[in-house]
Amino acid sequence: MTTLPTSVSGPLADVDFAELEKSLQRPRTLINAALDVVVTAMTVLALIPLFSVVWMLAVRGGKKLSLAVLTQLPPAPLEAGGGFGNALLGTLVIVGLAALWTVPFGILNAVYLAQAKPEDRLATGVRFATKVLTGFPSILAGVFAYGAVVLLTGGFSALAGAVAISILMLPVVVLTAEDAIRAVPARMKEAAAGMGATEAQTVWMVLLPTALPGILTGVMLAVARAAGETAPLIFTALFSNYWLSSHGQIHLMQPTASLAVLIYNFAGMPFDNQIELAWAAALVLVLIVLALNIAGQALSRRLPE
């Protein structure tokens, strides 16, 4: 605390120092302090849902969670026990299938975009198309897959679900991979070119290895987003009460269960057991999504400057 001088001579004689003191009695400072409080309160209020969701998941989902729940088939109405093993497997298969073609396709697109000259019209078009896909409602990805795959093959299937999901993954993979490749220092590219490397060699031996952490971050984020998506799966992969594989065969052309659709279906049922299972499935789904997000962020922190 500094005390203000009470009397001054010279050019400052006219200044009223009491006027300069910060005091809550003045409207200006009072409003300032009040708005500080308001904004703090609003931010805390905005975070309450997050804590509420996490709390409910931990309490209601954690109560039901067990190894049996992760490995058993969904129960019939009024039946006790059961689990969502087939839905967990279904989510992994659908997302894996989607990643299988989206990741290479997306990275090749990113290479093209990162290497394209500024006046390249195709690159401008692709960049615009990718931005459009970023804001594409997830339900419309499902509508497209329904029209393009379900109607064509005559039934709901894991494949149709994967097609729908891959449309939502693509922009995330392309945009983050392009950024990562562009972030590779130009001197490394020039050194490769100076040694007589072709463009393909530069991409494979210099750009992609250097940009790998950034590209993987994008893949993780895309997979995390895909795993949580429900809307595109409701009428493409539909749901199933049985395992994806039987007699040693995997049926990709059959209706397939997924965690997200299981939560949606079970949340609306009037049976306590199903609702408890929905909470447990939600906990597992959030844990998967969070693990992928955290892994992605940890990777991006190791990006070269």
Binding site: R28, N32, D36, V38, V39, M42, T43, A46, P49, L50, S52, M56, L57, F105, L108, N109, Y112, L113, Q115, L122, G125, V126, A129, T130, K131, V132, L133, G135, P137, S138, I139, L140, G142, V143, F144, Y146, G147, L151, I167, L170, G196, T198, E199, A200, Q201, A227, G228, T230, A231, I234, L238, A260, I263, Y264, A282, L285, V286, V289, L290, N293
Partner: protein, 339 residues
Amino acid sequence: MAEAVSVAQEPSSAQRFADAAFRRLCQLCAAAALALVVFIVLRIAISAAPALSDYGPGFLTGTTWDPNKGRYAILPEIWGTLYTSILALVLGTLFGVAAALFLAEGFLGEFVYQLLKAPGLHLHPLWSKLPARAEDALRNLVELLAAIPSVVYGLWGLFVVIPTVRPFCNWLYAHLGWIPFFSTSLAGPGVLPAVLVLSIMILPTITAIGRQALVSVPSKLRMASYGLGATRWETIIGVLLPTASRGIFGGVVLAFGRALGETMALAMLVGNANQIRLSLFSPANTLAALLANNFPEAGPRQVAVLMYAALVLLAITLVVNVAGALLVQRAAARTEGAQ
């Protein structure tokens, strides 16, 4: 070792061929990505064509949805989509911009700094990092809101939000029922729970873009304002918000696009009632929820009708998203120019 082997050498013809093939492959992929987006739009449009010619523009203005009589129209769904999205946007913008200011102005860091200053730890090599760490943690928490799948929000809305708000809503209905917004009781799912959950889901978008816009305001403007003796909030309201307004607005428009297309939370919480009501407590329906609920059991005829509804949703979100992206881009170009 008669002569040194040079590492640098001209590419062999095989390497040249591989290079050309790889470049062509990349180009092909880019063309395929562009074609994919065109194909998506065309696929939906072509599937909608039969319904488009059967129902025409009357589809957008009628209010009947009756599969038994084969009469379809989606005005209630368009109304529900816009009504819930706009209300969620108002709430989300208020709280989202507040959170963006809280993050951009380093309120939390300052608070932690003051806490550390009391025991004299603010210059300690380890403890002094705490304010910045706390800021990072808070930013990650807000981003976490965006990472939670929408179906989980729907579940939470069903079992937490609806039971929590129901007493308040029914009190409002009983005492202030003459106000159109409170003119029905909340039986379960309805507009208000859907709006609350929707606003939580779009808040991270507004906060992230708003924070970016606020942080990129040139610091000389902020310094000049403080130098003239303005308080923090005089600076925020008079200088920071107007300068960052375009970027913030772009974020709001992008969030609007998200809200329009959001499906699961609404399908679970809005009540799926085909009606146009002003009341916040009555059930309603949205385009996305209509698609989610009707597609699994749709016959060939209804599929065309639903494709038409999907086309309408696509058109609305496309316009909003492109506008939002352009606004954010232009705002970024402007602040870069100022620096």
